[in-house]
């Protein structure tokens, strides 16, 4: 493939495998693996969104699972009211409305909390993003109308003209297209003037400010874009699982998202996707082996942090630790 660099070829190769393999599973009727792949792709979208601020922006958000939850409830709540009545102004099964609601709600939450979080830095930022996510968690736990702790079953998936999300392969393909678009968008942002400022602020904030850039606004914009993108992933996850509960925004979920990004390699296009893939596959494999699978999994996490700096994509590109 003349004209493509080594890393571009790896990217295209991995993404092609990720597209072809699930279609093959579907063709041969292995629905379990197809749904595993769908979950993987949806989590990869969330990891890609986190990578924009964590990898390129240097903003360690420990609360990204909140956006997944917000996106999922933005599908679940209108569907709930469409079935059981009440709250007529949001009761709807219309997919366009639900997706728009997910993205806008996530963006607004990111704007409000981001405006506060970004006033702080370092370890404060980590803990505050985590605390705000926990706030959303307890908020949904305490609302009995939507099931509280027990969660909410989505009886009807988002409805689109011509596209039926009830078919597993359609849901997978839609998620895959969204993943590719998300990767394209992050890549476009990173290589734009905006992205340059964002990365420059990561490298040296004071110097970037001195050059005349209001890095606070750049970071806030990136934070909102990332939150909105993750909200979209949440809307897809709600459609995939057809069951949502506060548990999906527990802080350990945020930790897992962070782990995917680090495992795959921060500030790389493919890293979050690789990280999500390894995470989902290893977690599935270990949980089939033993109910105590968190033990080897946690040890693996510690080992990756201690020994494998640069992540998987670093190793793939021959730049391992």
């Amino acid at each position: 493939m003349i004209g493509f660099s080594r890393s571009a070829r790896i990217n295209i190769g991995v993404m092609a495998i990720l597209a072809i393999l699930p279609v093959f599973f579907w063709w041969t009727g292995q629905t379990f693996y197809l749904s595993l792949a769908t979950r993987l792709v949806i989590l990869a979208i969330a990891a890609v969104s986190l990578n924009l601020i964590l990898g390129y922006g240097g903003l360690i958000s420990f609360g990204h699972a909140a956006y997944i939850g917000i996106g999922a409830y933005a599908v679940g709540i209108p569907a709930h009211h469409a079935l059981y009545g009440g709250m007529d102004f949001i009761a709807s099964n219309n997919g366009f409305f639900q997706i728009a609601l997910a993205v806008v709600a996530a963006a607004v939450f990111a704007l409000i909390t981001g405006a506060i979080c970004l006033r702080t830095k370092g370890v404060y930022f980590i803990m505050i993003t985590m605390a705000f996510a926990q706030m959303v968690y307890y908020f949904f736990v305490s609302i009995e109308e939507y099931g509280g702790d027990d969660g909410l079953v989505i009886d009807t998936r988002s409805e689109f003209p011509l596209v039926n999300l009830d078919q597993p392969i359609v849901l997978f393909l839609v998620s895959y297209v969204v993943l590719v678009l998300a990767m394209w968008l992050v890549n476009a942002i990173v290589n734009s003037r905006f992205g340059m400022v964002l990365q420059s602020a990561k490298g040296n904030n004071d110097r970037t400010v001195t050059l005349g850039y209001n890095t606070y606004l750049y970071r806030l914009t990136a934070y909102v874009i990332s939150g909105a993108m993750c909200g979209l992933a949440g809307a897809l996850l709600g459609n995939f699982a057809t069951f949502i509960s506060p548990e999906m925004m527990d802080w350990s979920r945020s930790g897992e998202l962070m782990f995917m990004v680090i495992l795959g390699g921060t500030a790389t296009a493919l890293g979050p996707v690789l990280g999500a893939a390894v995470f989902v596959v290893v977690a599935q494999f270990l949980s089939e082996l033993t109910i105590y699978w968190h033990l080897p999994f946690g040890l693996m996490l510690i080992a990756v942090v201690l020994f494998a700096r640069g992540g998987l994509s670093g190793i793939l590109r021959g730049k391992g630790s």
Partner: protein
Amino acid sequence: MFVLKSGIPPLDTTLLFVQTLNGVQLGLLLFLVASGLTLVFGILDFVNLAHGSLYMLGAFICASLTFLVGNFLLAVLIALPITGVLGYLIERFVARPLYARDHLDHVLGTFGLILVLDTSVHLIWGPAGIAVPLPAWLEGQVGLFGDVVVPSFRLLIIAAGLAAAAGLFWLVNYTRLGMLIRAGASNRTMVSALGIDIQSLFALVFALGAMLAGLAGMLIAPITEASIGMGNNIIITAFVVIIVGGIGSMKGAFFAALLIGLIDTLGRAFLDDFFKLFMSSDAAENSAPALSAMLIYILMAVVLSVRPQGLFPPKVR
């Protein structure tokens, strides 16, 4: 202006007193957990998410020992050094290699540690919680004044919490070890240049923090029972405490812990009554639980938007 509706019951002062005491109790437990966090962060610049796991381990170890030796207080005395040793081991094998790394690696490494410790507890003690029996003289209630009665064990928790806070205050401000701890927080390199074994000091601080968190777990176990994941619930609130108080500040941790303990407890107990003053009963009962669950986070947001470094930021950092 809100129009007060007629027929509002007068505020129950007995209930208010008991709930305030509960708030103080929660605040002191939070302080025990948060003080370890803030010590470790202030001196070692290390973010320890697994600090809550030490709280959980303290509860489980104390539960087993209570059944073994047959006395709760004796079990606490034996369990304390054990949690200290566990803290030391964690410092030696997970935390120490990570000191030189950035906070992101701290967070991920200790997140992995939580998974390992939670699952280990599951393996050793099984999935169900363990109730911890109290000696008879702690089971009863104490009449304070009027018709106010409080469980005597809750008074013991408050006394133990205050004693630990006073002991810590004395240790940090009036002993040689405390002097080294404060010096280490201000300037690590200088302390080690003066010939202090900074590595051992770090390990000691870590073990001390583990013992404090373990103590909090032991004290709460007879009330809530020891259960997997109990640490993960309190650690977030402890983070809110040290953020509001100012990370690295012992004084900040103490006042913020009491503030948050009181706000959380009183909010859950009285917010719906308060809302009923100017809302319909139904609306109040629907909105109060959601808001009271978020109250401490709202407090945190307000504090941070006014003072991003917390209420009592440490002087030197």
